[in-house]
């Protein structure tokens, strides 16, 4: 709450100090709730992109972009919808970077963004269900869908010669979506999923859940959960009862707190999280290094999401969402001049001169299908009790 208050206060200050020629962009993120520790750096990354554009002075003949922060929360759809309503009707934002979590993002899209015709680019909502959501071409995301992560996970396991796994997932849109995507991909490639069981976060005891998983059997336990929550509890219980000793860890489980908690106990377990080894990522991380934790998950996606909205506006020569929405894919994809982080000013100039750009950005963003990132994944493995990057795909 305190963070939120400071955030809104800061946003209010900025808003009051701005000139008449302003474009407001909503930074609608889960500042409170289960993702609050991730959102701080993400929002800073988005605002870094906005500052970069403002500093160049090239945006729409000298207009200024003003970020307006709003708390979409991660799990409270009604609070998220209310925050989005306020951003659009009261603050008058022309585009939204958000939301953070899949469930709330879907709710905002259906109830606020589509009825009001506002472009929404989410840096971190990964549920496959959003691919088919009714969006009138207004919704994009710079994070890959979990349908893609499911494929990558299935490939990794099959390549390691694993043919039978048990799956447990956190009981929400993210966990269910990822588990389903993985199960169908894995079955297609000839693997067998022995059980697909949900677990609730925030319980003290997961022995009953692990008992069911152990009974179903499998060479590896796939834990599609959260590393500070039930996911870690399930792993603890599985290790204690000797049910499993190798795990596969999707993006919600990859983090230092997990390797600190288990170390060599889960030696050899693999996982993957969105990430790329592109030049853009390195440039972005150096740019942000002094200001916030630029290696934190989804910061790079956040930077790209904010950059896409502004470049699309410039390309369309309009801040009307229904006009610039058609330019988002154009500025994100080839052909055009490649644009790395820190070169947004140059990109704006090229667009103003009538040229075409291809935002490489911090994640090498490339929009496919219905406006979502193809995405690349960083494959990690626990070696000597630490997460080590073993490849990209």
């Amino acid at each position: 709450m305190k963070k939120f208050l400071t955030a809104t206060a800061a946003a209010a200050l900025m808003a009051s100090g701005a000139a008449a020629e302003d474009v407001k962009i909503g930074i609608l993120q889960g500042f409170t709730g289960p993702t609050e520790s991730l959102v701080g750096p993400m929002a800073s990354a988005m605002e870094m992109a906005i500052e970069e554009v403002n500093a160049s002075g090239n945006f729409m003949d000298g207009m200024t972009v003003v970020p307006v922060r709003g708390d979409s929360t991660c799990i409270d759809a009604s609070a998220g919808v209310a925050a989005a309503e306020r951003a659009i009707t009261s603050d008058g934002v022309k585009g939204i970077v958000g939301g953070t979590c899949s469930g709330v993002t879907g709710a905002i899209l259906a109830n606020v963004a589509v009825p009001n015709g506002i472009v929404m680019i989410s840096p971190s909502a990964t549920s496959p269900a959003l691919t088919t959501a009714e969006d009138n071409g207004l919704f994009f995301r710079t994070a890959p869908s979990d349908a893609r992560q499911g494929e990558v996970m299935a490939d990794l396991l099959i390549e390691d010669g694993v043919t039978s796994v048990a799956v447990t997932y956190t009981n929400n849109d993210y966990g269910k979506g990822l588990a389903d995507a993985f199960a169908s991909a894995f079955a297609e490639k000839g693997g067998e999923v022995t059980i697909q069981a949900a677990h609730e976060d925030g319980k003290a005891d997961y022995s009953a859940e692990v008992a069911a998983l152990a009974s179903a059997g499998g060479e590896v336990l796939v834990v599609a959960g959260y590393l500070d929550q039930g996911g870690a509890g399930v792993i603890r219980s599985a290790l204690d009862s000797g049910a499993f000793d190798t795990f596969h860890l999707p993006d919600g489980m990859v983090g230092e707190s997990l390797s600190n908690a288990f170390g060599t106990e889960i030696e050899g377990s693999k996982g993957q999280a969105p990430g790329s080894n592109s030049e853009g990522t390195k440039i972005f991380q150096e740019l942000g290094a002094g200001q916030f934790d630029s290696a934190s998950p989804y910061t790079a996606e956040g930077y790209d999401a904010a950059a896409l909205i502004m470049l699309a506006m410039q390309a369309a020569g309009s801040t009307d969402p229904n006009v610039y929405k058609d330019k988002v894919e154009m500025v994100a994809n080839a052909p055009g001049e490649k644009i790395n982080p820190g070169e947004l000013g140059r990109a704006l100039q090229i667009l103003a001169d009538g040229g075409d750009v291809d935002l490489v950005g911090a994640t090498g963003v490339e929009l496919i299908g219905p406006g979502e990132a193809a995405g690349s994944f960083r494959v990690v493995e626990i070696k000597d009790g630490k997460f080590e990057t073993v490849g990209y795909r």
Binding site: A197, H199, K203, A204, S207, A208, V210, A211, A212, S215
Partner: protein, 336 residues
Amino acid sequence: MDILNAIVALSNFVLVPAIAYGSQLALGALGVTLIYGILRFSNFAHGDTMAFGTMATILVTWALQAAGVSFGPLPTALLALPLGIAACILLVLGTDRLVYRFYREVKAKPIILVMASLGVMFILNGLVRFIIGPDDQRFADGERFIITARDFKEMTGLQEGLAIKTTQGITLVTAIIVVAVLFWFLNRTRTGKSMRAYSDNEDLALLSGINPERVVMVTWMIVAALATIAGVLYGLDKSFKAFTYFQLLLPIFASAIVGGLGSPVGAIAGGFVIAFSEVFVTYAWKKVLVYLMPENLEPSGLVQLLSTDYKFAISFAILLIVLLFRPTGLFRGKSV
């Protein structure tokens, strides 16, 4: 060999966890049942009393750990337990003085006391979160296992492993000692006898010169000790989180009611009935059956009656069945 494997698998995933959980529930239910028998109301603040006692114990444990004190292979929290119990006793005597005594003196109906305890519950809820925070706290230290699954497999050459955590062993041993002491106290000592007399017939007890305030005070002290011990054992075995202790209220009340409110033996039996049925009904029996059945009869499905999501529903269902068919509980306690 297959039969042995089946037994070991069953013990590892069902029996050992259920026995530990059952002991923890039984100790919690004993506290509820004592309050009901002697003070004549359902104490909704019991879960949070457990949380408070555990929190006090954790704070002392941290102080001991910081001072470099340890208890060898056993958790340091056991050393801190007496101080935790003392803190909890002060708390419940304080709430009794501030809240419950007034209602007792005006001879309020039990439902008013229940509502008062609901208020105490919310205050304790906030107090615990305020002091130690809403997050998970792990405070178990010392040796983690009596025997690990891997060691067991190597020792016996069986396919299935059996893991017994130190905390599970401690839970069972402590529960047995506590229950033995409690029953000795209730049946053999003068104070214990006066408590039972007061519970059976209040007027008669008063006539024979039993001091009611003293009985009430001793009851609260015993309940605080039981609550703290149950809470610390649960926290050592799993983890401490204010919210989970609040949630424990349901299975604890289910245990006490199934066994028969007011009956100490019933509370213990009820604790194990609830714990075992929660685990038995949600267990996937495939693994055990594969070992036991001839090959052509092996099940292909999971043989799971209910998904583990429905764990809490089972406590409710048993509660309903007992209340419908035997409202006084298995051991003929007071009817609810």
